[in-house]
Symmetry: C2
Subunit: 304 residues, 2 copies
């Protein structure tokens, strides 16, 4: 049940999604504006990167659109279809990573993408992937429940099993093995999605893209004016080190990009603006800082 | 020409080397003192980690001794002897990474290590590895020439071809592929060294270990009191991002450690204390910041 694929429609949606996310971020920030760079990839295709830095609410936000094509799909691009490696391909997607200034506002990440792999005389093989996930440095149950309930809403009309499956996949994927900690409180992660036919899969990708800001913005609005101490900011910079560790050691998208001559500045836009590592830091038992790992960065059911 | 190996002698040397380096660092810093943690590895062996943070001269210094053993040597541990993978092994070494406060003082790294891989009924296979390399964020020809001339001195009595070979290996190893930049100005890197017999190879390892502080300390003393602006500190934090990128994406020792249940806090002690990433930062043409990459982070002969 492949259906007729239409990359033009996907592209139209993704460009509008990039605009919408940037518009909402600027709207919340009030002060900073995105700077845009259009770029071309020597091997084919290109993208539009938008970055905002040193805002009133957001220390850094990157929202990237890219549409690249190539002669040979690298094996790492598809988990479940190794047989398509080596085909010519197109990959199109939007990703957003937002690092707030206030340590009480969580970092968020969203990505939606579409791949088509072709070879002469064969049906094109295509799939969607994406998701969104949240990384607090101070945990709030209210925020986690809101985030996951919007994630659930994004999935529910596609079947009752969809949210639990993609929530689990997110928990499994965003796990920092060497720390034995989740990167954040999760959300949704999916890949290699094509078994509902093109139109329905595209609808699902849109639902994920469309629900990102409704999941994130109310949390930002609720926390952005919380006063915080230097110690709390310090903890945020320390926790951002975990984000860097995950993205540079484990994230398939980042490593694939770096190893395949992607545009480095766009790929690494996901890294936090300011970060610190402290040797063998331990949190005060029972403190908010200690509760983060114990209560929030251990995967749990947030819809109970 | 295997010679009789003596791990006890190597251990004695390495523990004394750790003491000496820490002593010199404290001597230069005057204010901060190392904090020591002894640790054990569940799978066998352990180590002594020493960290100094927020000193007057050094923002962070980590000097680690470890002596670990295991049932099965991972294939990544030996480049040129894949056949020893799976043997029982011992690995013993000292590594030091020093991140100064002042942006005019370069970051330095030193590592010396010894491996033995054994199996019943076969001769033990052993080798030495190590080296030292320097990462300035403002380049000074005088410092680079001094660093490399001490590196040359460390090697010269072992043959005229030794310095050029291990200098080249260092340039090749500490290269940040996705940036097309060297991590620093290099120095020495060697691995799988055993063809001079145990006694002579051990002598060479000692020569490398012994020449690290004579290579580094005069540069620290010369630059540590240079006044600097916020912009220059900012550039240092930005350049430290490159250090993180290399260590987490490419460094075999770091990745091997993280993937083999090493002690995370000791492995990641190499990461800089404070770091920043800025999107698509460009340096003013002709500035000291632009000259760093053009004139110093492109491998060249520093002994001319």
């Amino acid at each position: 049940m492949s259906g007729t694929i239409n990359i033009g429609d996907v592209e139209t949606y993704l460009l509008a999604l990039q605009d919408r996310i940037c518009g909402e971020v600027e709207d919340v920030d009030t002060r900073a504006r995105f700077h845009e760079d259009a770029w071309e990839r020597r091997q084919g295709g290109g993208g539009i990167s938008r970055a905002l830095e040193r805002g009133a609410v957001f220390e850094k936000a990157g929202v990237n659109f890219s549409h690249v094509h190539g002669d040979r799909l690298p094996p790492s691009a598809s988990i479940s279809r190794p047989e398509v490696a080596g085909r010519s391909f197109q990959a199109i997607g939007v990703s957003a990573v937002i690092h707030p200034e206030n340590p009480f506002v969580p970092t968020s990440h969203m990505n939606v993408r579409f791949f088509v792999a072709e070879k002469p005389g064969a049906e094109p093989v295509w799939w969607f992937g994406g998701g969104f996930d949240l990384t607090p440095c101070y945990g709030f149950e209210e925020d986690a429940r809101h985030w996951h309930s919007v994630a659930h809403t994004a999935c529910v009309e596609f079947g009752e099993d969809v949210y639990p499956k993609f929530k689990q996949w997110c928990d499994d994927y965003f796990f920092i093995r060497h720390r034995g900690e989740a990167r954040g409180i999760g959300g949704l992660f999916f890949d290699d999605l094509n078994d509902w036919g093109f139109a329905r899969c595209f609808e699902f990708m849109r639902s994920v893209g469309d629900h990102y800001m409704p999941a994130y913005r109310p949390i930002v609005e609720r926390r952005k004016d919380t006063t915080y101490s230097d110690q709390q900011k310090d903890f945020q910079l320390y926790r951002r080190g975990r984000y860097v560790e995950f993205n540079l050691v484990y994230d398939r998208g980042t490593l694939f990009g770096l190893q395949s001559d992607g545009r480095v500045e766009s790929i690494l836009m996901s890294l936090p603006p300011r970060v610190q590592w402290q040797y063998n830091r331990k949190e005060e038992p029972g403190s908010d800082e200690a509760r983060l790992v114990e209560e929030f960065l251990t995967p749990r059911d947030w819809l109970e």
